[in-house]
Amino acid sequence: MLTGCRVLDCSDQLGWLTGRMLADLGATVVKIDPPGSVSGGPAWQANNFNKQPFPLDLSTGEGFEVLERMLDNADLLIECAQPGSPLAERFDPAALAVRHPKLVHVSITPFGRTGPRSRWQASDLELMAAAGAMSLAGEPGGEPLRVSAPQSYAWAGAHGALGALVALVGRSVIGRGQHVDVSAQGSVIPALAHAPTFVDLLGVTPSRSGAFMTGRAREGARFRAFWPCRDGYLNFILYGGPAGRRSNEQLVAWMADAGAPLGALSEVGWSGFAPTLLNQEQIDRLEEPIGNFFSGITMQSFLEEASRREMLGYPAFTVADISADPQLSARDFWQEQTGADGVRRRYCGAFVMVDGERPAKSAVGELADTLERFGLDPREIAELGNNATEEAA
């Protein structure tokens, strides 16, 4: 969908996903990293798939001058220079807007380019803390936790892509590009769902509740959300509402079919089931037979049967389970590519399907051809290529 759109991606981990999403949507994305820089780790590989790597040292005047010439032929620039750093000065939005009026300039930084904490340093850990996300994960009263796979970088990257596209569409309205200032801290806030509204409307501060769900029952009782099963964990909650009642009813039917003891579950009339009215003892009595049943089944059998019975609930998959999921292969989700080392590797494919098809890896072609389209002349490209090779060696 973005065929013809040219992107210069000078991002670090905060912005990798931005260029990846634009590439998935059909843009030509050149990924610029310092020559000889350490890249190629799993997160780099996954999020820079579909881009064309081009080593260029932007810390030197010479290197930045090459980038400036390429910007004359670019629609989008993505950069993550830390505010206050010499590189951030080179990427001064006002100056770039004068020199490249059509350019959409996307800065992705921990806290945004301006403000009292714009120069603060943050990795995923500090960002998840700053955005309030850690306050919602962990045991009640215990240590706040982040997700073990960095999430704030992905939130920032996804918002970078959205901001880039808002500005790209807006270019037709205002006749020029503009600066998109992405704050990773601000980008994580949607992850909190509606938690902020409790503070705002009721003065209540939501907090973490471990493997349980609270806030549903009037007496403050907790419902189990994660249950051990034969090969991992299942996520199932005794919900109310039409979908919840149907799920509970189906689970009990499944347990009865399997000959599992129903205990207190057999006494419940599901059509009027209202979890908000239960106290902890009543919940524990209902959850005991469910726990016993779940401990004997596998994640896969739960997934299949819950889907067949249209029940709410999913297993807590690992990356190994996800990689084997037939739903994903049926939808052509994975893309494979053979690297320079001859090894075939698998990547997440484009994040949406368009007109019934998964957009294929864009026709990346030769880097030299792409660089020519960015206005570099072939001799210069050859020279830059040699320098890069020497440095890498």
């Binding site: 999403m21 962990g138 808002v166 807006g170 503009q178 209540v204 493997a211 807590a316 739903q327």
Partner: protein
């Protein structure tokens, strides 16, 4: 709307569906100038109106809920009975008016209502339609219903949350729905660009599950490449030590991390424990990773004697990564979020004045805004059909008589 030009001005969006994954797409677009019409019915209002707290006075009411309001600011709200022929006719007129349709029903529901992509394309040939659901429109489990909070578990994210000896954990709400809405909004804008160039519309099939996988793409790649299965490890990191969260004297928590030997030396100095940096167990990142537990014990002891906020300030000034753990209440006084005007107070006719969230990026020329509080149920029926669509009053009355707005 303010008098400023907005990036998405002139873009018209019609939403069918409810909860988070669909409506949050429209909210994101509305904040940058798109005209967004949220379609509900009186018989079946958006599920976020009545099924989810909080309510200003603690009692569920159609227009008094913060959960619905939070994801539906800056939009028009209409009610149409889609089971009624007249209501369907108006839905069709809305689609004809619109550029983009966003829906998050289960696969097949829109088609059964007569509002499938092919039917709508007959009304609006260059329509862009985003269909967002748990599993995507196709595949063996396409019809599986589900909540976003639970889908986050299937997508591996809950399993990566927690300490190694505890079960996985929920991430509070329908976490993955907001990944899907952010990516979904980006995809419809790309489709708008395509339409500008080629005149062609598009049907975008978004599986919320698949979008969530992009948030753990590195771990998935690593499994394919080396067979390593990523696991939850609390707050540990495989490159940095220290890297953790520490209880402080004031009852708050402080996160900090060191990414080089120099940064660790600075931390030790700021902690007034220079011996820490000289300790042979901690003299390289590799050694610190091995001895992380011992190192964290020393930092934990020190943290109990300091306050989180002041110490984060001190550490940052000294060149060390640090931030206090903001509680949800703290977010409303965080100086950086206040500077960016992330929260925007607007007066809702039932809830009163309350906060809405502006997206996490600012535009230099077309700034966008939270232009209005969320609509009450059906509040904009006249404004949309008489105003935006230019319907004659007599025709509108006929639709009223036919109970189209039910």
């Amino acid at each position: 709307m303010s008098g400023l030009m907005q990036a998405l001005q002139g873009v018209k969006v019609v939403e069918f569906g409810g909860y988070a994954a669909g409506p949050h797409v429209g909210k994101l677009l509305a904040n940058f100038g798109a005209e967004v019409v949220h379609v509900e019915s009186r018989r079946l209002p958006d599920g976020f109106r009545l099924q989810y707290p909080p309510y200003r006075d603690g009692r569920p009411s159609t227009d008094g809920g913060g959960c619905f309001a939070f994801f539906n600011d800056s939009k028009y709200g209409v009610t149409l009975d889609l089971k009624n022929e007249a209501g369907l006719e108006l839905a069709s007129k809305l689609v004809e008016w619109g550029d983009i349709v966003v829906e998050n029903m289960r696969p097949g529901v829109m088609a059964r209502l007569g509002l499938g992509y092919e039917e709508l394309r007959a009304v609006n040939p260059d329509l862009i339609m985003l269909s967002s659901c748990n599993m995507g429109q196709t595949g063996p489990r396409a019809n599986t219903p589900g909540f976003g909070s639970q889908l986050t578990a299937l997508a591996g994210i809950c399993g990566l949350t927690g300490k190694s000896d505890t079960p996985p954990m929920l991430l509070y709400g329908p976490y993955i729905d907001f990944i899907a809405s952010t990516m979904g909004a980006a995809s419809v804008l790309a489709a708008l660009e395509q339409r500008r160039v080629t005149g062609r519309g598009a049907w975008i099939d978004l599986s919320q599950y698949e979008t969530g996988l992009h948030f753990i793409a590195g771990a998935l790649f690593e499994y394919g490449d080396s067979g390593r299965v990523a696991e939850r490890v609390g707050n540990a990191d495989d490159q940095a030590a220290p890297h953790g969260c520490f209880a402080c004297r004031d009852g708050k928590w402080l996160t900090l991390s060191c990414w080089s030997d120099q940064e660790f030396a600075r931390l030790a100095e700021l902690m007034a424990l220079p011996g820490l940096a000289a300790d042979p167990r901690f003299q390289s990142a590799e050694k610190r990773l091995v001895a992380a537990e011992t190192l964290h014990a020393s930092i934990s002891q020190w943290a109990l004697g300091v306050d989180a906020e002041a110490t984060a300030q001190l550490l940052q000034e000294g060149g060390v990564h640090a931030y206090p753990v903001n509680s949800i209440a703290d977010l409303f006084s965080d100086p950086q979020l206040l500077h960016r005007q992330l929260w925007r107070r607007r007066r809702h006719p039932v809830i009163g004045e309350h906060n809405y969230q502006f997206p996490g990026f600012d535009l230099s020329v077309t700034p966008g805004d939270v232009t209005a509080p969320a609509p009450c149920l059906g509040a904009d029926n006249e404004a949309v059909f008489l105003g935006l669509l230019g319907m004659e009053a007599q025709e509108y009355r006929r639709y009223q008589e036919r109970k189209a707005f039910g």
